[in-house]
Assembly symmetry: C2
Homo-oligomer: 341 residues x 2
Amino acid sequence: MSRKRNTTLKELSKELGLSISTVSRALNDHPDISLETKKKVKKLAKQMNYVPNLFARGFRSRETHILGVIVPNISHLFTSTILKGILDEAELRGYRVIISESNNEETKQVEMLNTMTQFGVDGVLMSLARKTKDVEEVLKILNRIPIVLFDKVSSKIPCTQVVINEEEAAFNAVEHLIELGKKRIAIIKETENSYNSEKRFAGYLRALNQYNIPVRDKLILSTEDISLGNGRRLANILISMKKRPDAIFAITDNAAIGAIKALHKFNIKIPEEIAVVGFSNSINSTIVSPALTTVDQPGAKIGRTAVRFLIQELENPTSDVMTKTVEIKTSLIVRDSSLNA
Amino acid sequence: MSRKRNTTLKELSKELGLSISTVSRALNDHPDISLETKKKVKKLAKQMNYVPNLFARGFRSRETHILGVIVPNISHLFTSTILKGILDEAELRGYRVIISESNNEETKQVEMLNTMTQFGVDGVLMSLARKTKDVEEVLKILNRIPIVLFDKVSSKIPCTQVVINEEEAAFNAVEHLIELGKKRIAIIKETENSYNSEKRFAGYLRALNQYNIPVRDKLILSTEDISLGNGRRLANILISMKKRPDAIFAITDNAAIGAIKALHKFNIKIPEEIAVVGFSNSINSTIVSPALTTVDQPGAKIGRTAVRFLIQELENPTSDVMTKTVEIKTSLIVRDSSLNA
DNA sequence: CTGAAAGCGCTTACAG
DNA sequence: CTGAAAGCGCTTACAG
């Protein structure tokens, strides 16, 4: 099938007997051009199905109006919700979005960052790969184009960072358990000191301290990979204790759901004997029974906010280095796993 | 923060005292250039952190190596799994991917298609918006660049289509229920004749016919929006029948899960009294209890296949119009909702 | 083996 | 009000 080539300004100008410049100006509603000419030009343009080659335009102005997005894993519900927000907001503002995955590999992340700049993206939105240690390469790119980090961020990279109020969210979750009368509140967190895990743990500690509840090391469990399986495994450890906890705060929904499954096996009543709270408000949290109390993270809002800050930076290049951290508010969704305790 | 501009060939050539052409050729390993020159050039290029401007390159060759992707909704797990496959395969073959959403609106779909061509994407991968009726505009675009459809497709668009074996998958699911000894098998499907719903319904009918089981209109329920809530609602109708069905085949997991929740409320034993089978193998299907028997759709494979066909078409533009339909095999995952019945 | 020049499609300062 | 020309960064046929 032979493809039609796109109509160009040249073709239009030849057809009209006008210069390319005039045609270009007419289409862009330049004030110099007479109304009559504009009409004529626009009419033919429509007829010949003219679409401007944005590539050529961007090439000249050194602006592509393309934003790069790098995330660890696109098929994570929370991530794709953020992406939705990014797409919406970008489109609204006339930007296109190129998305790629780092698969949580630091080398891949740097590689993607490099090809993105090669492609001439105007800026990059990025959620860091797990265990990103060496930020040298990222800083190099940051010298060339603006970057805005979201969700998985790092204080080692001086740029705008959009996150949820992790610490406060965790505090609220644990406070909720305390208000329920729970005293022995276990936490399931990550071994590695990821930004998110650390903050949520800090919130947990602050809540206990504020309510004068002793922090018990035995009730603080960690796992490398905070999955459903590991949630189940760690919950089993908690269940086997002589003095069981009366609540479990897992820093992800999946781990919380694993815990629920484990409690179920042992016929432990949720929330009467042990209440469970998760983090994310994933779809699963409504499917599991009892439905899971969890922290709702407004993904789309995070995405939209990140785009807004990036574009602001792009369109005001004179402003100072942006290094602010923007916190998006979360809310606790109380469901059966911690109700009527 | 003042941004460093990217190094250009011009800068390199000035520094080296060579012409731009020579530098370009050296970097591209043109056989004409002496090894010595190549070494010198490459060394400086690395030193000065030179990255070719792919934009300029693509602009000249009229190939951007960017693929456009349009999906109804990115934050659908199945969709994002397909996207994962698309990203992987595209990257492997040196293509970038621009993603956008149609939000299931036909006008938005056309709009996205237009801006994508404006952007100069080499080709488009698309899953159609629900109820896409007017394919005129799509055909117009198809005259300019190749399109490959996946998942939500339409026979009205003459191009390569990548789908799962919907009909056979549904057949297998229903056959499985029949082999369990079920005789009154209800189906929950979509009102509207979407490609997927129609095919799955056809598979259902074929299975019943093949096993000489009468098709009962009362057991065929439809809903506009095949959601969890509607699954629950329709299941309630089935439950209230004098002669209840002994199995429910819902054409989506969500609807199946809704059905399970409804059965649960009425203390109906699953699968002994009523078995349930879904379609998608979403994460939820393992979270719900009993775990749901469902059809696994290899999303990543669909994505990868679609990319492969598109690129093949791009790189062999001489070949005839491509209109083949590629079917990706699914498999039935049997879980507790239909086990030991 | 290397260079000067044209051209991809567009915009825009400069002339008229 | 309109046009000729330069230029964005690159590749490549044409000369030498």
